[in-house]
């Protein structure tokens, strides 16, 4: 088991390092403060969305509405949070609470999360179109400043990724409540028998997902400076792929926050790498999929060996 746990984080790190080395070889200009920031700054919102998805996967569910949810947050951030900060913040808070309520609902009524979140994706998408029927809006100035900050030596994108990974690692792996939450994914019944209220735990996990989804949407607007009702639709699948690529599993509460962040970086880098390779766009999606399958196959081989040993 120790070997397996170790492999779980080694593989994402190795895949990122290999890809990074290949990218630097193809495009030496990327090997600079400026270059690293350009390569990775759009990975920051994806990393946050991946963490959000991880919170739900941690309790054995899956969230198919994350992309539209992040889009909705982006629309609110670029309109209400900019024009009337208090109202905007209240709306974002309400969104987080509704996510928590959704978790409670899914648990109490024993509904399949995949169906509920698929349904909610249309609600979020509709609300986003309602708030911002045509693309526009403006990023709050403080948010833009935050996302374009230039810390000494290490670019913002890298600093942000490290902070996200560290905070969520403390929250999910180190803290007591994080352990219990992972326990819900591992064996919900024994957690319940130990006296924990499952409804509240599920609501907490979904609430955390909502929180990180909101952060993802805000970070995205800080980068793009304005929003679009369809801005983050790809995040649903990217976030799921990121969690799995980072060593997480769909069931059993086996997740790795650090891995998830690295997974998100790897996915972003893979797209840039393929574009530097001048691969025809018709092949790019396929190639991205091939990279994903390659990493997962490697993981399977490693984990089999790990469990044998």
């Amino acid at each position: 088991m120790t070997a397996l746990a170790r492999y779980r984080i080694i593989l994402p790190v190795v895949s990122l390092a290999v890809l990074l080395a290949a990218t630097f070889y193809m495009q030496p200009r990327a090997m600079s403060y400026f270059g690293l920031n350009l390569l990775f700054n759009l990975a920051v919102p994806i990393a946050l969305a991946t963490i959000a998805q991880m919170m739900v996967i941690m309790v054995n569910d899956i969230d198919l509405s994350l992309g539209t949810f992040v889009s909705l947050v982006a629309c609110i951030t670029a309109t209400f949070l900019h024009d009337t900060p208090l109202l905007g913040a209240a709306m974002l808070l309400a969104l987080i609470l509704s996510y928590a309520a959704l978790g409670a609902l899914i648990h109490t009524l024993e509904l399949p999360a995949i169906v509920v979140t698929l349904g909610m994706s249309f609600v979020w998408g509709g609300l986003a179109l309602f708030i911002l029927p045509s693309p526009g809006g403006t990023s709050p100035v403080w948010l833009r400043t935050l996302m374009t900050v230039k810390p000494p030596f290490v670019p913002m994108a890298v600093v942000a990724s490290v902070i996200i990974a560290a905070v969520t690692h403390l929250l999910v792996i180190r803290s007591g409540i994080g352990t219990v939450l992972r326990g819900v994914g591992g064996n919900a019944r024994s957690v319940a028998r130990a006296g924990w209220p499952l409804v509240r735990l599920k609501a907490l996990a979904y609430g955390l997902c909502g929180l990180f989804g909101v952060l993802a949407g805000m970070a995205l607007v800080g980068l793009t400076t304005s929003a679009d009702a369809n801005i983050a639709l790809r995040y649903t699948l990217l976030s799921i792929a990121g969690v799995i690529l980072g060593g997480g599993e769909f069931i059993g509460g086996k997740v790795s926050p650090t891995g998830a962040v690295i997974g998100a970086l790897t996915l972003t880098l893979a797209a840039s790498f393929l574009s530097f390779m001048r691969l025809s766009p018709d092949w790019q999606i396929g190639a991205q999929g091939a990279i994903l399958i390659l990493v997962l196959t490697a993981r399977l081989i490693f984990s089999r060996k790990g469990s044998v040993a």
Binding site: A30, L39, P135, T224, T225, R234, D282
Partner: protein, 341 residues
């Protein structure tokens, strides 16, 4: 050869180069690299656009006008993907980026970053609102209005119209529709009695029109957005209703149908759309900016109109399954720039 002689020679060379430049007042762009960032390639219009760009670009490269002019298309039609693509282009060291944007606003962050890195950004067709970029826009509202103006000349008595719209939520759809409604407000003899979304595709338009037709009174004209006229005609035929005056959108199947109808019963109409060759115009505008020409940030490109007289020539020059096109030259670009000044 002494050092002073070498210096003298170098100074002479520099002066000569300076004089040559002063003569044309434009800088040499033979070392510059231009990239096309495109968000979608899944229809005949975009395919024709990419082909025209490739043609213009490879000619310019082999003539030594620019060093490179590569085309990139995102694998998915998403603003976040295209933002990443633009950032990659900055890294690759391009001097100018020509952009057909997935969203008018969601790429502004990446475009600003390109401008800050000293890259010239020229957006066309799908334009961006970031002030540091150039925009080559089509007056889509004027295009919609022109359709109704044309109908007014052909049908002075007016009547009931059917409107076929494009893809919901897209800026172009809103603009053309706005123009059509402005035109109808001006020519009060017309009334729009039905409106469907044809998504700029013949099959979708045919289904949508077939669905709404039974509930409609006699229709005298159909106002469209391009790519939907042939489907509308098929729907009218299938319903056994007389073919109204359908304004077309330059697609080859539409033009072919028009020619057939004209030969059979003297059918007359108008076809107009934006030419995919606008990508070549954007290329030349970018080249002019790199050469140091003063170019206003907002340029307008005329739309391509096909009338009864030019139908045969246009149909002959349009490949099957494609869309009528023109390739813009450097002179065209200079004319557009001069007009905007």
């Amino acid at each position: 050869m002494t050092i002073s002689k070498m210096l003298l020679g170098a100074a002479g060379l520099a002066m000569a180069a300076g004089l040559a430049q002063a003569g044309s007042h434009l800088a040499d762009t033979s070392g510059k690299r231009i990239a096309l960032s495109n968000n979608y390639a899944g229809n005949s219009w975009r395919q024709a656009m990419l082909e025209t760009y490739q043609g213009t670009a490879s000619e310019a490269v082999s003539a030594g006008i620019v060093a490179a002019a590569d085309a990139y298309t995102t694998s998915e039609n998403q603003a976040t993907e295209q933002a990443a693509q633009i950032q990659n282009m900055i890294l690759q060291g391009y001097d100018a980026i020509i952009l057909n944007a997935a969203s008018p606003t969601a790429l502004n962050g990446a475009v600003k970053e390109a401008c800050d890195a000293g890259v010239t950004v020229v957006s066309f067709d799908g334009i961006v609102t970031e002030p540091c970029a150039w925009r080559i826009a089509v007056d889509f509202a004027a295009m919609g209005k022109e359709e109704v103006d044309y109908l007014a000349t052909r049908l002075p008595d007016g009547g009931k119209l059917l409107e076929i719209r494009g893809l919901a939520g897209v800026f172009v759809d809103d603009e053309i529709s706005k123009g059509i409604h402005e035109g109808v407000a001006e020519h009060s003899q017309f009334e729009i009695v039905g409106s469907v979304h044809g998504d700029w595709a013949q099959d979708v338009a045919q289904k949508a029109v077939a669905g709404i037709l039974p509930s409609l009174p006699d229709i005298v004209g159909v106002v469209t957005q391009g790519g939907d006229g042939y489907g509308a005609a098929q729907a009218f035929k299938a319903a056994g209703r007389p073919t109204p005056l359908i304004v077309l959108g330059n697609r080859q199947d539409e033009l072919k149908w028009w020619a057939e109808q004209r030969d059979a019963n003297g059918y007359e109409t108008l076809s107009l759309s934006i030419a995919p060759g606008v990508a070549s115009l954007a290329f030349w505008v970018a080249q002019q900016i790199l050469a140091g020409e003063e170019v206003p940030k907002d340029l307008t490109v005329p739309f391509l109109k096909i009338t009864q007289d030019t139908l045969d020539a246009s149909l002959a020059s349009t490949p099957e399954g494609s869309v009528a096109n023109v390739t813009y030259t450097l002179e065209d670009a200079q004319k557009v720039i001069a007009e905007a000044k």
